[in-house]
């Protein structure tokens, strides 16, 4: 299956199954609706094989280039069938399982994620650990059958819907920094786990706090080796800035098209509009090159921080433009479409915060790409 064949086949299939795939809600929908819609679209695309291309056969895939996954997400996003943020979590979590879980565990679990039978979450950040991940303190202690986990996570997207969690824990001494971190694959229905969703400015409670009170995790649920959690995290983060970011770029392109249709004459400033179009084009060009590097088997690293800075800048530029042109809708409107513009405008404010802040990305670029030591 090559990209051209995939693209043609998928486009045709999407057109033929429009009614089945369409969301039942108008506008962005509630988070419950978004999650249900995502599960439905994943199931339909998995059962029709589209979702299986680009993934290894070991985990229920059909093989083929990762470009196929990139195109699938682009097509689903551009047709407004899935919310790109929650869709793309698969792109981050599945590769981690493939690379680090015991093969038999990955073979059982990953198909459930791909097919939308299960939602998973990623437990990294903590109240005291935002940008400086190496200081995390959620504690895991060995016991007879595996691990006991105690502590707290925060900003855990979709935790309230999740069946499993890729969790980073402190397995070494308190001062062991990045050396003493282990990654675990935790069942969210294990006794001792409490999830509390967090209200957010954009009205979508997609993040949660997760509390672990003496939670038992079997030994076979370790991802990689003990103390290898930092590598798991470092290998996972570039995925957030590759396929997932490509999907987000496609979503922004789609919203730009809708903005042009929605905005009244005279409300869009030509210079600001032209610049936004160019920024989105540059983001797409850069992210496209990253997709091809990934498809060629290149190991992605610090250079994906460039993609993230381009994304965050373009996303804020687009919604700044929208806020100017659609001020009535965003400030006063209560129609579902208005509410969606408002919610996405507000969410765009976080584009320079989530997934590594703008400052962290620039620090990575300075240190790793420009070779500027920081003399900490």
């Amino acid at each position: 299956m090559d990209l051209v064949e995939f693209r043609t086949g998928l486009d045709e299939w999407l057109a033929g199954h429009r009614t089945e795939l369409a969301p039942t809600h108008r506008g962005a929908g509630t988070l419950d609706e978004q999650v249900a819609q995502l599960a439905k679209v994943k199931r339909l695309t998995f059962d029709a094989d589209w979702m299986r291309w680009g993934w290894p056969r070991l985990v229920g895939g059909l093989g083929g280039s990762t470009l196929l996954r990139a195109y699938l997400g682009e097509a689903l996003t551009a047709a407004d069938l899935v919310e790109p943020g929650i869709y793309s979590m698969t792109e981050v979590l599945a590769p981690t399982m493939i690379d680090y879980a015991a093969p038999e565990l990955a073979a059982v679990m990953v198909p459930r994620l791909l097919r939308g039978d299960e939602t998973w979450c990623q437990g990294f950040s903590e109240p005291g650990t935002g940008s400086n991940l190496a200081t995390l303190s959620c504690r895991a202690v060995r016991d007879d059958d595996g691990w006991r986990v105690n502590g707290q996570k925060v900003w855990t997207s979709l935790a309230q819907y999740a069946t499993r969690c890729v969790l980073l824990v402190r397995s070494g001494t308190a001062d062991s920094a990045h050396r003493g971190i282990t990654a675990l694959f935790v069942d969210m229905d294990t006794p001792g786990i409490t999830v509390r969703p967090i209200g957010t400015m954009h009205g979508v409670p997609e993040f949660a706090e997760v509390f672990f009170d003496d939670v038992a995790v079997p030994a076979g649920r370790m991802l990689g080796e003990e103390g290898q959690g930092w590598s798991v995290a470092m290998d996972l983060l570039p995925f957030e800035r590759s396929t997932a970011l490509w999907h987000r770029g496609a979503h922004l392109q789609h919203r730009l098209r809708q903005l042009l249709v929605t905005a009244s004459a005279g409300t869009l400033d030509p210079m600001q509009l032209g610049e936004t179009v160019q920024m989105l084009a540059a983001l797409r060009a850069r992210s496209r090159a990253t997709q091809y590097r990934m498809a060629a088997g290149e190991r992605l690293g610090a250079e994906t921080s460039v993609d993230k800075v381009l994304l965050a800048t373009a996303e804020q530029a687009l919604f700044d433009l929208a806020e100017g042109a659609l001020s009535d809708a965003i400030l006063l409107g209560d129609d579902p479409d208005d509410a969606r513009w408002r919610s996405e405008f507000l969410y765009s404010r976080a584009a320079t915060i989530y997934g590594g802040t703008a400052e962290i990305q620039r620090n990575i670029i300075a240190r790793r790409l420009l070779g500027l030591p920081d003399h900490r």
Binding site: L3, R7, L67, A70, Y71, E74, W246, Q253, L256, R257, L260, A265, G266, L268, D269, P270, M271, Q272, L273, G274, E275, V277, Q278, M279, A281, A282, L283, R284, A285, R286, R288, A289, Q291, V306, V309, L310, T313, E359, Q361, R362, N363, I365, A366, R367, L369, L370, G371, L372, P373, D374, H375
Partner: protein
Amino acid sequence: MMDAADRDLFAAAVRRATEAHTGTALDAALDEVGWHDALGAEPRVAVSLSFECQGACNATSSALGSVVRAGLGVGPRSAEGPAVVLPALGRWDPPGTLAERLSIRGLGMAALPMAEHIVVPVRGGAGDLVVPVPRGRLTLAHVQGLDPALGLVTVEVDGAHVGSGGVLATGTWAAAVDLARLAVGHELVGAAGAMLELARVHALEREQFGRPIAAFQAVRHRLADTLVAIEGARALLDAAWDDGSSDTAAMAKAMAGRAARVAARHCQQVLAGIGFTTEHPLHRYVRRVLVLDELFGSARALTRVVGNALVVGGPLPAPVPL
């Protein structure tokens, strides 16, 4: 087609030529390494490579004229071919207009006054032409201006009678403009990269408050932003070569111009006092990119074109396909 090994050899030869020579000597050196042949056979390799090098080395040449000539299909493929008059600063329509008589407002590269033959792209009522014009008919003036080292020449003619020219097929001038924009885009990106390297080295060497200024986040972030701007522009230039669209080429040129201005601003600030002196090379790059940005449409002008077309209901430029 060049294979990977040929391309590496060619790249090294172009780089050596551009590092060692400038002006007419660079024209000759490029000819010697087969650059004009490569321009015909593999324009992407020839243009991206030599213009990035030219930008990085702050060198000058007649290569932009050769690129326009190649876009117009006017031979021969060598430095010996006729010199081409380029559009005036900030413009991208043909420099000549033909009503009853020929008028020209344009620019030439430094070697134009020495050229044996000069041709002018002309827009006439019946279409575009390439018209040979004897040097004696042209009013030529060397430009000092902001960047004297670039050696631009202004070319003017008011109402000359000239012989007939070659008729250009529809779209040919537009194709030449696309190619020229990519060339200047690569030169801007090359120059921006050179400015970044100057500032980077300075930030590592210059110590204040007991540490290199590279340790200060305010400095680091300026340089990081510069790299982001450069990489965004470079990716869009690559995409423009891939998709062959005029829209993408124009956007890439605009992003390259903007990246070069970002680089000039941040790198000048990081280099601070020394970067303001003529003892340091930065000023040559700052001068160069401000002029280059205006060739075949500045970042500002090309951005306005995109926005103006959209606000009156025009279609969005097609996104580069995956």
